[in-house]
Amino acid sequence: MSSTGKDNYYVPEGSQWPIIAASGVFVLLFGFVLWVNGINVGTWMMVIAAFWMAWLFKGWFTDVIDENLTGKYNAQVDKSFRQGMFWFITSEVFFFATFFGCLYYLRTITLPYLGGEGYLATSNILWEGFQYSWPMAAIPDAGAGLGGKTFTVPKEAMGAGGLPLWNTIILLTSGATLTYAHWGLKKENNNQLVIGLVLTVVLGATFMVLQGVEYGHAYAEMDLTLNSGIYGSTFYMLTGFHGMHVTIGTIMLIAMTGRAMKKHFTSHNHFAFEGVAWYWHFVDVVWLGLYVFVYWL
C-alpha cells in the first residue's frame, strides 16, 4: 500500500486486472468479427473471452470490496467513485440519445422525403408510388437492399397495450421497490434492504422474460424482425440495447443482494448500492422514453 493512514487518498499498488480486461475485450471482439463472417473459431474465442471477463469482473470487484471493507477508502475516494459513476451514466445517456435521435430523424426527415414530400423531393424520385407511414406498412424496395439484402413488411406493428404496458408497470414498480430498499439501508434495517433488493431482482427478471416472450411473438407471428426495414431496425436496436442494460442492471442488483446479505453496507458507506440504484433508475427512465416513442406514438 502506497499511502499510509486513513486520511490519505488511497492509491492502489499495481493491479493485474486492467490488462486482463483489455486483452479480454480484444479477444471477445476479435472472435465476434470472425463469428459474423462465418469463421467457426470465432465462436470459441467469444466463449473463452466470456469466461475470461467473468473471472476478471469477479477478481477486480473482489479487490475493491476487500479494500473497502478494510477501511482503505476515505470520503474523497468515495466521492471519486460517485463522480465516476455519474459521468459513466452521462455517456450512456448520450449512447441512447443516439438511437432516439435516429428514430426522430428517420421519422420526420427521411421517410417523408422518400415519400415525395419536403424541400427537394417534389415527387417520388427513387421509388414511384411509395407511400410512407409509421409504423411502416410499406418498404420502398424490399428486394434491393445493399449487398443483396431483402426486407419483409411486418404483418402488424407492435402495439402499446398488452405486454409493453405490463413491462412499463413492472419497471416502474421495480424503481419503487429499489427505493424501499434504499430507505431500509438509511434506517440501517438490513431486512428491508434485502427484501427490497430481492423484489427488484424478481421484477427485473420478469421484465426480461416478458420481453423475450414479446420478441418471440414478434418474430413468429408478426413477421417483425431485424429485416423489417427501418421500423424493425429501430424497434430492435432501441429495445435490444435497453434489454441488454436491464440484464446488466439485474446482474449488478443480484451482486448487491449478495453483499447486502453479508451486511456489507452501512447507512453512510454504500456507494456500490447507490451506483447500481442510479443505473437502474437510468434504465427505468430510458424505458419510459421507449414506451412513449417506440411503442405508443
Binding site: I19, V33, T90, Y119, L146
Partner: protein, 535 residues
C-alpha cells in the same frame, strides 16, 4: 498570486521489472506509456502519409494500387487522430494534471491503466484490419476515416475490424475522460479553486466533457453500421426506409467536436508556454476560460457544415453556416489573448515559444480558410478538394500537433530531469515549420483549381503543386527523426534541470508542478499540499 506549498513525500521507488508497466497504477508511468505509444503511432501514421505522397509525386498510378491507396489514407487519419494526437494529449494530462493540482494520483488509478492498455490492443486490431483483407481476398478498408455508407456496408472483413478498433478506442477515451474530469473536480489540493488552475487543466476538463458526450454517438453509429452489414437492418439503406445521410450526421456529431478535442489540450499548453516566455501573466485568463466553454458548446451544434452538398434544406444549411462562423469569435478571442500576453512582454524564444508563436500565426490561416469553407455557396465549390485537405492540416498540425511539440519541449526537463538540446530544438522547429508550410500551402491552390481529394491519380495540370508538396512532405517526415533523437538524447543525459527550469513559469496561474523536483519522485503529494493564496 504566489503559492506556498508544504508537502511530505515518502521516498519509495517504483516496482521492479515489467510488472511496473503492465500493472501500473502510477499516473507518471501511465503518462509515459501514453507518450511512447503516441510516438510509435506518429511514425506509423507518418509512414502511411509518406507512401501517399510518394504515390502523388507524379500523376498516374505508380506504386500503390487504388484500393491500397485509399486504405492507407483511411489508416493515416485513424492512426493520427486516435493513435497519436489523443494519446499524446492524454499522456500529458496524466503526467501533468495531478502534479498541477496537487493530487496524489489520478482519481481512479486502475481505470487509468485500463484506458491506456486498451490502446495497444486497438492499434493491433487496426493493423489486422489492414492485413485481413489480403488473407480473405476482400477489398481493403477504402472508405476514408469517415466510414460513410454505402461503401462501408459493402466493404469486406477489414471493415469489421475497423469498426471494433473504433469501439476499443472509444471505450479507452471515455474511461480516460471520466477519470480526468473526476480528478480535476475532486482531487484539487485544498485552496486550489477552479480559477487558480493552470489553463491546461481547464482545457482538459472541457475536452473530457466533450469526449464523454460525443464518443458514445460514434460508438452508436458504427454499431448500426455493423448491424447493417451483418444482421439485416436498414439504418443506412434507403431501399429499406433508412438513410445514408443519417450516418453522416452521427459521424459528424462526433467528428466536429473531435476537432476541439484535438485542439483544446494544445490551447491549454499555449496558455502555459506563452506567459512563461513572455514573462507576463496570461492576458484575460477568466474570459479565455469562458471563450473555451463557448467554443465547447458551439462545437457541439455545428456538425453538418461537413455535409453541405448532400441536399439538406436551405434553412438547415443556413443555420449551420451561421453557427460555424460564430465559432470564429471564441477562437479569435483565444488567439488575441495570446497575442496580448506577448505584447510588451520580455520575450525569449526557446523552442516551446517558437512553436507557440508559429501556432498563433498558422492556426489563423486555418481559421481564415475555415470561415471560407463555412460559407455554403463557397463550400459547394471547395467541397472535397485539396483546399479542404490544406485547411484541416493547417488546423490539426499547428493547432494540435505543434501544441503537443511545444508541450513536449516545455515539459521534457520536468519529465526527465535534463534540459533538451536547445540548438537541436530550434533546428527541429525551423525544419518542421518550413517543410510543413511548403507541403500544405500549395494544396490551397491545387484545391481551388479543382483537384479532388481521396483519389490516387490526378490531372497533369496539378503536377507542379503536387511535386512541391511531396518533396516537402518527405522533408517534414524526416524532421521527426531529429525529434526522436532529441528526445532520446534528453532522456539519456544533458544539463541538469532545476525544479523550475523556466524562470517565467511562476508568473500568472502556475500549478504545483514546479514545486516538485525534476524528475519528480515516484509518488508526489501523498498528503494534500496546502495552497495559500495571496491575492
Amino acid at each position: 498570486m504566489s503559492t506556498e506549498v508544504a508537502h511530505d513525500d515518502h521516498h519509495h521507488g517504483p516496482p521492479k521489472g515489467i510488472g511496473r508497466w503492465l500493472f501500473s497504477t502510477n499516473h507518471k508511468d501511465i503518462g509515459t506509456m501514453y507518450l511512447i505509444f503516441a510516438l510509435v503511432m506518429l511514425f506509423l501514421g507518418g509512414a502511411s502519409a509518406m507512401m501517399l505522397r510518394a504515390e502523388l509525386l507524379y500523376p498516374g498510378v505508380q506504386i500503390l494500387d487504388p484500393d491500397l491507396y485509399n486504405n492507407l489514407l483511411t489508416n493515416h487519419a485513424l492512426i493520427m487522430v486516435f493513435g497519436m494526437v489523443m494519446p499524446a494529449a492524454a499522456g500529458m494530462a496524466n503526467w501533468m494534471i495531478p502534479l498541477m493540482i496537487g493530487a496524489p494520483d489520478m482519481a481512479l488509478p486502475r481505470l487509468n491503466n485500463l484506458s491506456f492498455w486498451l490502446l495497444p490492443f486497438a492499434g493491433t486490431m487496426l493493423i489486422i484490419s489492414m492485413i485481413a483483407p489480403y488473407i480473405f481476398g476482400d477489398t481493403p478498408v477504402n472508405t476514408g476515416w469517415t466510414l460513410y455508407p454505402p461503401l462501408s456496408v459493402q466493404a469486406g472483413i477489414g471493415m469489421d475490424f475497423t469498426i471494433f478498433t473504433v469501439h476499443i478506442l472509444g471505450i479507452s477515451s471515455i474511461l480516460a475522460s471520466i477519470n480526468i474530469v473526476t480528478t480535476i473536480v475532486n482531487m484539487r489540493a485544498p485552496g486550489m479553486g477552479y480559477f487558480n488552475m493552470p489553463l491546461f487543466v481547464w482545457a482538459w476538463l472541457l475536452t473530457g466533457l466533450l469526449l464523454i458526450m460525443v464518443m458514445p454517438v460514434l460508438a452508436g453509429g458504427v454499431t448500426m453500421l455493423l448491424f447493417d452489414r451483418h444482421f439485416g437492418t436498414a439504418f443506412f439503406d434507403a431501399a429499406g426506409g433508412g438513410d445514408p445521410v443519417l450516418f453522416q450526421h452521427l459521424f459528424w456529431f462526433f467528428g466536429h467536436p473531435e476537432v476541439y478535442v484535438l485542439l483544446l489540450p494544445s490551447i491549454g499548453v499555449l496558455g502555459l508556454v506563452v506567459p512563461t516566455f513572455s514573462r507576463k501573466p496570461l492576458f484575460a485568463y477568466k474570459p479565455l476560460v469562458y471563450s473555451m466553454m463557448l467554443l465547447t458548446a458551439l462545437g457541439m451544434v455545428v456538425w453538418a457544415h461537413h455535409q453541405y452538398t448532400v441536399g439538406m434544406s436551405e434553412a438547415v444549411t443556413t443555420y449551420f453556416m451561421i453557427g460555424t462562423i460564430l465559432i470564429s469569435i471564441p477562437v479569435g478571442y483565444m488567439l488575441f489573448s495570446f497575442i496580448f500576453t506577448m505584447w510588451r512582454g520580455s520575450m525569449t524564444f526557446e523552442t516551446p515559444m517558437l512553436f507557440a508563436v508559429a501556432i498563433v500565426l498558422m492556426f489563423s490561416f486555418a481559421g481564415v480558410t475555415g470561415v471560407m469553407l463555412a460559407v455554403v455557396p463557397a463550400d459547394l465549390q471547395y467541397h472535397d478538394t485539396y483546399f479542404v485537405v490544406a485547411h484541416f492540416h493547417y488546423a490539426l498540425i499547428p493547432g494540435a500537433v505543434f501544441g503537443l511539440y511545444a508541450g513536449v519541449f516545455y515539459w521534457l526537463p520536468k519529465w526527465t530531469g535534463h534540459m533538451y538540446d536547445e540548438k537541436l530544438g530550434k533546428i527541429f522547429f525551423w525544419w518542421t515549420t518550413i517543410s510543413f508550410n511548403l507541403t500544405f500551402f500549395p494544396q490551397h491552390f491545387s484545391g481551388l483549381a479543382g483537384m479532388p481529394r481521396r483519389i490516387v491519380d490526378y490531372s497533369a495540370i496539378f503536377m507542379e503543386f503536387n511535386f512541391i508538396s511531396s518533396i516537402s512532405a518527405f522533408a517534414f517526415g524526416a524532421s521527426h527523426l531529429l525529434f526522436l533523437y532529441i528526445i532520446i538524447k534528453t532522456i539519456k543525459g544533458g544539463e541538469k534541470a532545476g525544479d523550475m527550469p523556466w524562470d517565467g513559469a511562476q508568473i500568472g496561474t502556475p500549478g504545483l508542478e514546479w514545486t516538485v523536483s525534476s524528475p519528480p519522485p515516484f509518488h508526489t503529494f501523498e498528503q494534500p499540499p496546502a495552497v495559500i493564496k495571496q491575492s
